[in-house]
Subunit: 329 residues, 2 copies
């Protein structure tokens, strides 16, 4: 058994009181004599003492913990987001507790509570619901909350996200210029997530205005896209597929490759790419690359400010995307 060395051990060994050691630890050298300082320093090194964070947190109400809830951790968007958040928080002496909502709203609710139990000082959330009422209790409890990727309605919280509408518009322009007669947006169900709807609405507006056809396929987990995609490729209308996120893009590409559908001869394809695979597939996939690492960094910075100043304007920070023009349209 390993008896943990406490502040008292250090105090006794150094021949001072707990108070003095505590002061030393927190840099509250008032007029502490240099000898005392030196002695404490030595003893700490000697005993290999490390203050217990739980006790510190309990007393001082500072945990230096930030909760991060992502909707699916096994997703490149999340990985890079976490990388960005982690770097910024780490430098500031904060730790993150990461939770994976696994795309489940109930689980998310549970996790949010668990984070509060851990006395996190703030939460960065990729929300699983668009309904702000799911999160308003956090506001009431005075818990700093910063949204990433997805907004809620009404907009109660600061948000960091991609420039969804402009980037969708730009790529739709490309599609229209290439004389596609039909655009098929493939997305997970729109109703839960504002971002999805935003992207679809932006596409729809332009396509309709240009007098072309637009279709929406809302993909549920049970659904197999193979048959519809094959049919679209065979359609007499010149068709472009628009994947509304990285997972959809990957799924569509897999089908196209498996079915030996030629890009862009048989069908055009583009979309948001969280996976960074678009350069390598087929003729090179024209796609929208999100800066999710940067989104993470910005969100983390906002959080640090929030904590420092005790409040934060409810504003939206837009991180531009990179449009990669390649040869899939």
């Amino acid at each position: 058994m390993k008896k943990n060395v406490t502040i008292l051990d250090v105090a006794k060994q150094a021949g001072v009181s707990k108070t003095t050691v505590s002061r030393y630890l927190n840099g509250h050298f008032g007029n502490m004599s240099s000898e005392t300082k030196e002695r404490i320093r030595q003893v700490i090194a000697e005993l290999n003492y490390r203050p217990n964070k739980q006790a510190q947190a309990l007393k001082s109400k500072r945990s230096y913990l930030i909760g991060v809830v992502v909707s699916d951790i096994s997703n490149m968007y999340s990985s890079l987001l976490l990388k960005g958040i982690g770097e910024v928080l780490g430098e500031a002496g904060y730790q993150m507790i990461i939770m994976d909502a696994a795309s489940s709203l109930e689980q998310e609710h549970d996790l949010l509570n668990k984070l509060t139990d851990q006395s996190v000082e703030g939460i960065i959330l990729q929300a699983s619901s668009r309904d702000a009422s799911h999160y308003s209790h956090l506001k009431q409890a005075n818990m700093p909350l910063i949204l990433v990727d997805r907004d809620v309605e009404p907009s109660l919280f600061p948000l960091v996200t991609s420039d969804n509408i402009p980037s969708t518009q730009k790529i739709i322009e490309v599609i229209l210029q290439k004389n596609y007669e039909q655009v098929v947006v493939v997305s997970e169900p729109l109703k839960d997530i504002v971002t999805r709807e935003l992207r679809y609405a932006a596409a729809e507006e332009l396509v309709v205005a240009a007098g072309r056809k637009i279709k929406l396929i809302e993909k549920t987990p049970e659904m197999d896209l193979t048959e519809p995609v094959v049919r679209l490729a065979a359609s007499p209308l010149k068709t472009a597929l628009f994947a509304s996120n990285g997972r959809m893009l990957m799924e569509l590409l897999t089908i196209l490759v498996n079915e030996k559908i030629r890009i862009p001869e048989d069908i055009g394809i583009t979309g948001f790419d969280d996976w960074n695979l678009s350069a390598l597939v087929g003729p090179g996939i024209t796609s929208i690359e999100q800066q999710s690492k940067q989104i993470g960094e910005e969100a983390a910075k906002m959080m640090l400010d929030y904590i420092q100043y005790g409040s934060c304007p409810v504003e939206t920070k837009i991180i531009p995307t990179n449009i990669q023009l390649r040869h899939s349209l």
Copy 2:
């Protein structure tokens, strides 16, 4: 300001003592009267009381926190690993504190200390060094430590990893059968990580035994692989590239695509694929798919056992890989 409701508030409101409430919370109903139970239940619901984990941990020495240190979080291997760990731990009521060593050994050392400070009950580590002495203090401090992916020397800790040697051998067999005259292993520097060396050694042995040529390229961050790859593709010897992990595979594929080098006509390519992109690129890349989610699950299970029984055999658990035979060789 939000005055937090404490166990004392509940106790007063319910007209009992803190002890009784504590007993209720921890399921230590001895012969607690049903009325008392019911009253406490009600008050808790009413006040929306949630026990403070820090205080619980401080007193009970149980934090229900597991530290996880990955060498690079923006990597599919890590993402899936974390997914697996998270699922298993979550079900058991544990939280994970995830840290990203960002491939830096000093940072790793720092993180390990920070985790101990947080009173984690155990650590799951993808080690950045092969040298066990970097981690032996954890053993002395009686901190449960489980290694994933990479072993250390000497083998002091339980390990969950892929079947590196057999899978490398199998794929080298394929290369040899296809009459490649030269195999070029592309890896990050071997010296730090046992797994890398294992993979290279396994390849080398078979290639040499078959009387073919083997070469090793150790890729450092500054190094540009384009020129060597182009030269290899132009070589009169029929050459196969073997990427020792997903990032290397991705990098090599990017070069091949950019330089319009044909696969497998100009050069063969295969390797470990952490990114799940091999099906989509070129003619389909023959590759070794690691089950990193399953590795995470197993490591988490081992950790739970370790914590429960206070010890764990220092044994290695091998998770089989899937060899995907496609058309890149």
